[in-house]
């Protein structure tokens, strides 16, 4: 007998996200800027206030009860993230401020003992500035060379060119899993496999993938995986660096201070064990616990159904845009991608359209999306980007299309 899964009750799901139920300029809000930051379910908001109301104290080494409670909750959150990513150990989960901080941690620590003049770091032409600049700084410090994998006119990574860039000089390959500007899903399995053949490590920028699909770092065999809490429905200011235990042990600490030490004297300091070695100072305790709550919220949902709904939103919006706007060009126009549409309307400046959409209740992002080299590759200064989360609806897309028609008319 066929057991049909019940259809997703979006209206009920939306009740979990209080921020969505407001008006902007007198119009219902249609929030399509999820790739920049996702909204928070009530469960996350409640967890944050509950923590501050009942549990807050500094973590680790406190002898009193509150410190123990806070430490337990904090370490429990680490285990939730470990399970979410299918990491082998909780201490492979390092709390950071976000993706940018995670990448800077790896680049900075690598620079201290692993990278020397003549070594090469490979990134792709699709990267967010946060996965370009830390590596450029590392190269400047060490004399290593930054190599860039070219992309096709649709933004796809050129795997053949990548293979040619790889050599015994390659020490690190850092690419995004899903592209923030275009929504493309990159062939990271192949990228990792090829890099490992050459003994290079791979860091994946996962900021845009986890909001859409669960990630299994062991199945991917990723050496490092970086992401931000606020894009996966968790708090701002908290992020994660996953690293394989053996590699994290090889890296020297990033920042010095409290929490990260074993013993300190003025002559010599010995560093703490993982994960504390990389967590100097009082961490963002509430943020970590809130991020744990965000993943628990996701784990309680029918995640394949959420993914299917996002695919439907993407297909619905892409089709509507194509039908209503003959002057439309979609960047990263490939069949399989995340629910992100980056586009331009001929002769219309994204800033103008974005400002008009805002007054019609529709929140999209305009500009270069922190991907200036990618925009240069396409010969444009920016795009309009609508990015959908599972709580968005086709009705909101209708509102967006109507608003965009209005903007097009005003600006033509």
């Amino acid at each position: 007998m066929d057991v049909k899964t019940p259809p997703l009750d979006i209206a009920k799901l939306r009740q979990d996200f209080p921020v969505l139920h407001q008006k902007v300029a007198g119009k219902p809000l249609a929030y399509f800027d999820n790739a920049a930051s996702a909204q928070k379910p009530q469960a996350v908001i409640d967890t944050l206030s509950h923590y501050y109301e009942t549990t807050h104290s500094n973590v680790h080494r406190g002898v009193h009860q509150l410190s123990q409670k806070a430490t337990d909750a904090f370490e429990e959150a680490r285990k939730i993230v470990q399970q979410e990513l299918n990491a082998a150990h909780p201490h492979e989960i390092i709390w950071t401020k976000g993706t940018t901080d995670s990448i800077n941690l790896v680049a900075s620590s690598l620079g201290q003992n692993q990278i020397k003049s003549g070594d090469e770091i490979i990134i792709s032409a699709l990267e967010h500035h946060s996965n370009i600049v830390p590596w450029q700084m590392l190269c400047q410090r060490t004399g290593a060379t930054l190599r860039v994998i070219p992309i096709s006119d649709e933004g796809e990574i050129d795997l053949q060119a990548y293979r040619e860039l790889l050599s015994s000089r390659t020490k690190m390959v850092a690419v995004n899993h899903y592209s923030n500007a275009l929504g493309l899903i990159n062939p990271v399995e192949a990228i990792i496999e090829e890099a490992h053949k050459h003994g290079a490590w791979v860091l994946l920028d996962g900021a845009q993938s986890l909001p859409h699909r669960p990630v299994d770092v062991r199945a991917l065999d990723a050496d490092f995986y970086a992401f931000s809490g606020h894009k996966v429905f968790g708090p701002t200011g908290i992020g994660v660096l996953y690293g394989k235990e053996s590699l994290l042990n090889e890296l020297p600490p990033y920042q010095g201070g409290g929490e990260m030490i074993a013993e300190v004297s003025f002559e010599k300091t010995t560093y703490g064990e993982l994960p504390h070695k990389f967590e100097a100072g009082t961490p963002h305790i509430a943020g970590a616990i809130g991020l744990g709550a965000a993943f628990q919220y996701l784990q309680q949902q029918d995640r394949p159904a959420l993914a299917r709904h996002e695919e439907e939103l993407l297909a619905y919006a892409t089709d509507a845009l194509r039908r209503h706007f003959p002057r439309l060009k979609i960047y990263g126009d490939v069949p399989h991608k995340a629910s992100v549409i980056s586009f331009l309307l001929e002769d219309i400046h994204p800033y103008d359209a974005g400002a008009i959409l805002d007054k019609l209740g529709v929140a999209i992002r305009t500009g270069h999306h922190c991907n200036q080299p990618l925009m240069q590759r396409f010969g444009i200064s920016g795009t309009m980007r609508a990015s959908f989360a599972f709580y968005n609806t086709t009705e909101e897309i209708d509102q967006f299309i109507t608003a965009l028609q209005r903007a097009e008319k005003m600006l033509s």
Partner: protein, 146 residues
Amino acid sequence: MESIAEKQADIVEEFAFLEDWMDKYEHLIELGKELPLIDEQYKKEDNLIKGCQSQVWLHAENDGEHVHYTADSDAILTKGIIALLIRVLDGHKPSEITQADMDFIDQIGLKEHLSPTRANGLVNMVKQMKYYALALQASESKTTSS
């Protein structure tokens, strides 16, 4: 000629009739379209005020007494606001420009376009317009005192 304050009051009155946001934006688009074209020679890197959303080119010159501005932008709404800024400050003495309080933008509800988060070059354009007047004022006082 009207004072800077009078010109601002005129604009506030002009926008008072435009209650709906779309009417305000339609009006800005019209103003943007009517903005006299900047001489192509001034659309150079030196005159470019970069924003991450839209860009502004500003050229200023003086006739010995008054400052004259021409400007352009790649975005039409930005251009509409440029037209307002030029209408208010163009043709005034440097001392009047440096002291001008540009609160009309707030009063007509377009403050967000001059917010730094918009990154459209307009905040720096206002600064640049004033800097130019300030520089002129400084060189004038130097000439008078020598």
